[in-house]
Structure formats: structure tokens, C-alpha cells
Amino acid sequence: MAMPVNVPHVGENLEAAMKSQIVPDQEFLLQGSVLDTSLGVVIDRLRGLCDNADILPETFHDHEVVFVLKDFSAMSTPGPASQGVMLRVRRAMDYPDLPYQLRYVGYPELGNYPALLRNCLDIPVSNNVCEFLTELGAKLDHEFIAKGFIMKKGRIKVTVFKMYKMGIGMAKDNLEQMTMSHMVELSVLTTKTDMSVAEDLRALADQLKPLVQLERIDYRRLGP
């Protein structure tokens, strides 16, 4: 005799969570840059603004590999559809035991938001994700190394980092830097329904005003 067992499927739970919009899949982002010479000032200012001012800001050293997943055989037509999906895999080089992170970043939302708003999904993945993506048909687009500082203020994640080129035979301590400046990023993950945090982000950015101009940068206007 079969017992009436009602076990909800995992997918159902996820779907319900998506429907009620409690999944934090939206990211507010503000970006700016600062010259290396003024980095110390910015770090000092950020230390004063962020939580845990008593301890030194934590450093990070991440390696990011970007894959493009699209139908490469199709004719290239203008428009976002032909650009495919970018999947970013990031690993912490200074914490090799921690899981890799796979990130999907959507296109910026149109509208008058105080910060750049885009869809953003992060999942911890195992370290064979690159092979998996290659098997799926994704192609390696580019890779780089980001080194810098990470701080937080409440829910806001503050990163100040520099990007380095990734090449063959490049030692860990001998990296070729791309620019003479550091990126400053303020980001916060939120749900579709909770937009109040963007104001906090803006307020924090205003505090950095004379040092760093943090703006919502629309990538579609950049590039070729």
C-alpha cells in the first residue's frame, strides 16, 4: 500500500521564493576609480566610514575567468541576443579551500535609480566548474586578477582593487598591472521589493565625494 507522502520538490520551494520575491538577485552598483597615489587617503576614509574601523581592512586576491555562452555558429546579428551570456567564475587565490563563485550579471535596468541596478546571481560552485562550462560549450573570453581591499558597511560591500593582466608564466607576485589606478566599487545585493538600500549606497558614495566620483556606469555606452 502506497503511503501518501507529500514531499515538496526543491524546485517548488525555489519557485515559491522567486515568486514572493525574497531572493536577493538584484544588485545596486556604483563604481569609480582612484589613482594609486591617492589610494591611501581613500582607504583611510573608507576605514572611517565602514564597519570594524578598529581592524585593518581585509585584503583579497581573486582570479576571475569570464566565459561566454552563446551559439557560436549562428550569424552575428546586432543586438544583445547575439552577445550571449557571460558567466564569471571567480576563485580566491589566498583562500584556496573556499568554494569558487559563479556569477551571472544581467544588463542594467532602465529607469531612474540612484545606482546602477542589475540582475545578479551568485552561486558557490566546486572547483571543476571551468571544465563543466567548457563542456557546456562556453568559450573562455578573458581572465584577470583582482587584488585589493574589501570592507563592509552594513549590507554594503565595498571593494577597492586593482586589475592585473593574466598571462602564461606569470608568477603570483609578479603581475602586470593594467592601469595606474584602483577601482572603487560599492555594491549591495537586494530583492526586487526592497529598494531602500540604494539610498544608503548613494549616501556612502557622497561621503567619498571629493576623493572618488562614484557613478552609475552604463557599459552599453562604453566600448566599440
Binding site: 536577493p24 564597519d51 570594524n52 581585509e58 583579497f60 581573486d62 576571475e64 564569471r88 571567480r90 576563485r91 580566491a92 589566498d94 583562500y95 573556499l98 568554494p99 569558487y100 563563485q101 556569477r103 551568485d122 552561486i123 558557490p124 560552485v125 566546486s126 583582482a146 574589501i150 570592507m151 563592509k152 549590507r155 560591500k157 571593494t159 582593487f161 545585493l189
Partner: protein, 654 residues
């Protein structure tokens, strides 16, 4: 305004005369070059008479560079005068601006080094306008002819230690721990105002501080020009008390001793620190009370008024209470006064009542206790405070994500949970945290058990002088685990034998590791430990006797740890040892049990001398057992049991 015209000399300066006599003229400067040259000459920032040497040098250099200009420029004097006038006018203008502004604008004269003229030192600082960076200003400030000369300086000091902001016309401060990670709902808002407006709702800090019997510090505090106004529910002083009680009847009584540990420099500092302490204690108690209601142990916790009672061991209770005394009325708040207890108890309470402030507890009549019986557990109070501070700390100290794409506010294990395929139970276990109350109960249990173990061992050590019990407590221990090493030795014979055992004390159990490697786990009942040590003493005596026999040449005929005959021990087994003298004609039998005194018997061969005959060729055939005679060894000479046995052996061998 005077119209001053400046004219360039008509002809250009000669730059060089060539050999043929032609003169090369300097090209006339363009309009902008001309202007820059002139502008360089005029320096409004420096005073004409007191140009620093560097500037003089620069000017000289300039003059050297430009030889076509006369060293004494005809308009220089005019320029100087104009400049001076301008400076003075701007100073006057600044001053007028300040005077015209509302009173919350004030002027600070910062001393500038050496011979600097007064206009340079003036900065106007609109201080309370939008919380400027006060850290940049430094005393001394001078502000004569104003009665509230210290207000801004004190405000500055206040600002260095407390969070302030300006709302409308009032300055509001926050003394809650919210910025440090607290989630307590009660706000800790205080108001800062000047002391000179008498119409304000609150009284002067100095005066109110002096009214409090708790704070002798406030008596000598000078009149402060700054006044802080804390909400009434945060006035007075408060603390959390923790005590352990044995008896049922006085479960709900407590007393308060004055604990005025705040030592601020200024009256408002003192007042704010006290208020913050009150807030902290309230939050701590609130948290504990919530947990006490939520937890469901076998014996439920009792939350009555501002007391929490938890049963930690049968008959042993932990009492956590919040004592809050209002500084304005020194009467009790929600509890009995010390005096009511004194009515029943007589002089016993006098010692505790010195503070004389209040009692912060809820009842009642019969339950009175002397100060000896009633004791604050200061270390436990401290660890309670520490626990809440740790909660604060943890709420801010989430590990930062690595790689940075990872989401924030998750532990490392939780991030890896998806990868490792953790199931629901594992996730739930990971989420589970011990509540403050559980943690403090564990600490209290350990604390109590440690004290009781200490007491049992000390009692036994006092009771038994033979053998001696020596205990070494480990100075470094955790709040829930400590360790004691016990040595049992006989005085003067410690080389013969040393019985060692180690007892680990946990929350509800004791773990004893004996000399032979046996590990015994005991419950919190003191009798079990007592029995164990008694057994160890008995075994020590027997083992030491055998060790002594080796030195004296006696032979161990038999040794039995657990003898089955004789009177039954209430716990454990008696043991016996039989020793034979070197010549073999004397035998000593010793019987010892954990709960019986040691008894010694002697038996000797019927004939002390031996003459070989044809029938009995060797002496050993003469060693027939005879009647056992008990030795009354308590009447014997000797310091202790082993000493007596040694003397006995010596006497029997002779």
C-alpha cells in the same frame, strides 16, 4: 575708491649691446606677462613690514632676475599701504560678520606661532551647525566675556566619546549599543543642552549628581556648563546580580550592595556612563528573560518580576536578577527593602546593607539571609556581561566573503554547504547557537561543581592526616572546564609511594584518571568523589606498605585488592596484605577498607628458637601458623601508619 593707474616705462630695457653698437631691446612684455609681474609684486597675504626672510629672498632673486626694474619701485609704498588697509578691512569685516550672526556662531582664536599678526589667526567655525570635524580643533580656545565659555569645549569633549547629532535646535545623543551590534529596542537617547537656560526641563547635572547618595564623585564636581538629560528609565544605577542558592525558601530574595564603579571625569560623563550601564543591564536581563521563557528544560525556569531562577542541580538554584536603583528616590523599586529582611534576621544583614540603597527583587518575608550565605558571584556576573559583548561582537564580525562575489553575512561553512551537499539536519545544527542563558547555566554548573569538588577535597584533606592529601589546582581553566591533580602521600615515606590522580571537572560530571590508567566518570554528587578518594587512600596504604616491605626485607606473602571475606564494605572492597619477616617466623596481616580503619594482625611461630632434630631438619617446618593477635596500632608509637608498621617490623625482626 581711488583710481590708481599704473604705467609702463616708455622704452624697453636694453638687453645687450652688440659690438657694432646696436642695442638689443628687451621685448616689451605682453599684457598678461605684465599683469603677472605686477601681481607677483603684490602680496596681500603678507604684511609689508614683516615679510619673512624667505619671501625677501625671493623678492631679491626676482630683482636679480629682472635687472631692468628699479630696486625701489615707486609705487611700493602705496602698495604696502593699500595692502595693509585691505587686510584690516577684511579683519573688520570678518569680525562684523561674526557679531551679526546668530549666537550659535562663535569665533575661535587659534594661537599661531611666534610673531604672526592677529588677522591670520582668526577662523570662524560654525561648530554646531552640521557636526563639523571637531577633531581638527584643539584647545586652548579663548572666548572672553561670555558666561558659557566652556560649553563648546565640553561639547567637543562629549562629541569625542558619544554619538551626537543635531535635530532642530536640540542636540541629541545616543548611548545605545546599536552601533556596536545590539538589537535592543529601547532607545538610549539623551539630550544635550546648555546649563544657563534655566527654563530647561532638566536640572543641572552637578546638582542632580550631588543628590544621589550613590555618587560621592559628583559632590566635588564643578558646575558644568553642559547638561545632559537622560530619560528617566535610565537614571540611577543598575547591575545584574547572579547568585547560587541552596535552599528553597529564600529563592526570591536578594539584596543590593552599592556598586558605583563608574568613575568619569566630568559629571555628565559619569551620568552618561551610568545610563549606558543601565541600558546594558536592561538589555542583558531582557535577553535572558526571553531565553528563559523560550527554553524548555525538565525543570522550567522561573521568571518573576526582575528575577530569573533556574535549577542547575537538584536543590541548587541559580538566581539572575536586575537591580536598578533610581537615584532620585532611594526607595526600592519592585522589591523588598533590606530592612524588612533585617526584621526577621537581626544583625546578620547589617554587613550587606552598607550601600543602603535598594533591593531590587521581588519578595518577601521569611526569606532572609546573612551576608555569608548570600554571595554575589562576581565572576559569573562578569562573564554574563562578556557573553553579551560577544553577541555584539559576533553580530558585526561576519567573515568577509572570499572570493568577493560570495554573498555577505554567511559563515564559511554555510557557503560551502551547497557544495558539500549538506542535508537539512546538518544545516540546522550549524544554525543552532547556544543561548546566553544556556551558556551561563553551564558556567554556573561548572562553577558550582568546581567549588564543591574543592570543598570535598579540602574536607578530606582536613579529615585525614595520614596519608596526606595534596591538591594542585590548575590556574588556567576555561569557564566550563577545570582540572585538579591530587597527590596522596604518607609523610616521610613519599619515596615509597605517591598515589596520583587527576580530576577533570566539567559542567555536570567529573572525570577521574587514576594512577593505573583507569578512567572513572562521576556525577555531580559529592559522595561519589568522596568514596573515590577514600578508596584511593585505602589502596595507597596497602601499596605503600608493600613498598616499605621491600626496603625492610620482609616478603609479601599475599596481597589481595578485593577481598571477599570479612564485614561487607558499604562501598568498594577491603584489601589485605600478608607480610612475612626475613626469617619467616613472624607474619603481619593488614586489612584495610575504604570505610573501615586499618587493622593489623600479627602471628608468630610457636617456638622462637630452633634446634634441628632428626624429624625436623629445617627451621621452616617449625613455621606453623598460630593464633592471630590484633595489634592496637593506634596506641603504638609513630607518626603515621607506615611509621608504625616500620617500627612493628623492626620489633618483630629483632
Amino acid at each position: 575708491m581711488a583710481d590708481i593707474r599704473l604705467e609702463v616705462p616708455g622704452e624697453n630695457a636694453v638687453l645687450e649691446v652688440l659690438y657694432d653698437g646696436t642695442e638689443l631691446y628687451q621685448q616689451p612684455p605682453s599684457m598678461s606677462e605684465n599683469l603677472t609681474q605686477l601681481a607677483r609684486k603684490i602680496d596681500f597675504a603678507t604684511d609689508g613690514e614683516e615679510v619673512t626672510t624667505e619671501e625677501k629672498k625671493e623678492e631679491e632673486e626676482e630683482e636679480e632676475k629682472q635687472p631692468f626694474q628699479q630696486p625701489h619701485w615707486p609705487l611700493e609704498e602705496v602698495r604696502n599701504k593699500v595692502r595693509q588697509a585691505l587686510t584690516e578691512v577684511s579683519v573688520l569685516h570678518d569680525l562684523l560678520m561674526i557679531v551679526k550672526q546668530k549666537p550659535h556662531q562663535y569665533m575661535v582664536l587659534d594661537p599661531v606661532q611666534a610673531e604672526a599678526p592677529e588677522p591670520k589667526g582668526i577662523h570662524t567655525v560654525p561648530l554646531p551647525e552640521e557636526e563639523p570635524a571637531i577633531g581638527g580643533l584643539h584647545p586652548p580656545h579663548r572666548r572672553p566675556n561670555r558666561p558659557v565659555q566652556d560649553f563648546h569645549i565640553e561639547l567637543l569633549r562629549l562629541r569625542q566619546n558619544w554619538r551626537l547629532k543635531k535635530v532642530g535646535n536640540t542636540i541629541i545623543g545616543d548611548l545605545s549599543y546599536r552601533s556596536a551590534g545590539s538589537m535592543f529596542r529601547q532607545t538610549g537617547i539623551f539630550e544635550v543642552s546648555k546649563a544657563d537656560d534655566v527654563t530647561g526641563p532638566s536640572s543641572l547635572v552637578g546638582a542632580s549628581g550631588a543628590a544621589s547618595p550613590l555618587s560621592p564623585m559628583a559632590n566635588r564636581a564643578p558646575q558644568s556648563s553642559l547638561r545632559v538629560n537622560v530619560p528617566t528609565e535610565l537614571t540611577g544605577s543598575a547591575y545584574i546580580f547572579v547568585c547560587i542558592k541552596k535552599d528553597e525558601e529564600d529563592i526570591c530574595s536578594a539584596q543590593l550592595t552599592s556598586s558605583d564603579f563608574v568613575a568619569g571625569e566630568t559629571p555628565w560623563q559619569q551620568k552618561l556612563e551610568k545610563a549606558q550601564n543601565v541600558l546594558f543591564c536592561k538589555e542583558l536581563f531582557n535577553q535572558l528573560a526571553r531565553e528563559a521563557v523560550k527554553l524548555t528544560p525538565s525543570i522550567p525556569h522561573l521568571v518573576v518580576g526582575n528575577q530569573i531562577t533556574a535549577t542547575i542541580f537538584p536543590g541548587i538554584h541559580l538566581l539572575v536578577g536586575l537591580c536598578h536603583s533610581d537615584s532620585k528616590n532611594s526607595g526600592p523599586k519592585g522589591g523588598t527593602l533590606q530592612g524588612s529582611a533585617a526584621g526577621g534576621g537581626g544583625p546578620a544583614v547589617a554587613g550587606g546593607g552598607t550601600g543602603g540603597t535598594t533591593v531590587g527583587s521581588t519578595t518577601t518575608g521569611g526569606g532572609l539571609m546573612g551576608p555569608s550565605k548570600y554571595k554575589h558571584e562576581h565572576d559569573l556576573e562578569h562573564s554574563l556581561h562578556q557573553l553579551l559583548h560577544r553577541v555584539y561582537h559576533n553580530s558585526f564580525q561576519h567573515p568577509l566573503p572570499h572570493p568577493v562575489y560570495a554573498s555577505m553575512g554567511m559563515s564559511k561553512r554555510r557557503r560551502a554547504a551547497g557544495l558539500e551537499g549538506m542535508d537539512r539536519n546538518q544545516l540546522l545544527n550549524m544554525m543552532r547557537e547556544q543561548t546566553l542563558l544556556e551558556q551561563i547555566i553551564r558556567q554556573v554548573q561548572h562553577n558550582f561543581l568546581r567549588l564543591r569538588t574543592m570543598y570535598v577535597i579540602d574536607q578530606l584533606a582536613a579529615e585525614f592526616k595520614d596519608p596526606l592529601i595534596v591538591s594542585h589546582w590548575n590556574a588556567f581553566n576555561s569557564p566550563t572546564q577545570s582540572c585538579v591533580k591530587i597527590n596522596i602521600v604518607t609523610q616521610g615515606y613519599d619515596s615509597a609511594l605517591r598515589t596520583k590522580l587527576v580530576i577533570h571537572i566539567f559542567e555536570r560530571t567529573l572525570k577521574c584518571i587514576c594512577r593505573d590508567g583507569k578512567i572513572m566518570t562521576m556525577s555531580f554528587e559529592p559522595q561519589e568523589l568522596r568514596n573515590l578518594i577514600l578508596c584511593q587512600i585505602s589502596q595507597h596504604n596497602m601499596a605503600a606498605l608493600q613498598g616499605l616491605a621491600k626496603y625492610t626485607g620482609w616478603t609479601v606473602l599475599s596481597s589481595e585488592q578485593n577481598i571477599g571475606t570479612g564485614t561487607i564494605e558499604p562501598l568498594g572492597n577491603a584489601s589485605t596484605v600478608m607480610l612475612a619477616s626475613p626469617s619467616g617466623n613472624k607474619v603481619i596481616g593488614v586489612h584495610s577498607g575504604p570505610h573501615q580503619r586499618v587493622s593489623v594482625f600479627v602471628s608468630s611461630s610457636p617456638r622462637p628458637d630452633f634446634y634441628p632434630s632428626t624429624v625436623v631438619s629445617e627451621q621452616r617446618w617449625e613455621h606453623l601458623g598460630s593464633v592471630w593477635q590484633e595489634v592496637r596500632h593506634d596506641r603504638m608509637e609513630g607518626r603515621n601508619f607506615l611509621n608504625k608498621m616500620e617500627l612493628l617490623m623492626a620489633a618483630l625482626t629483632a
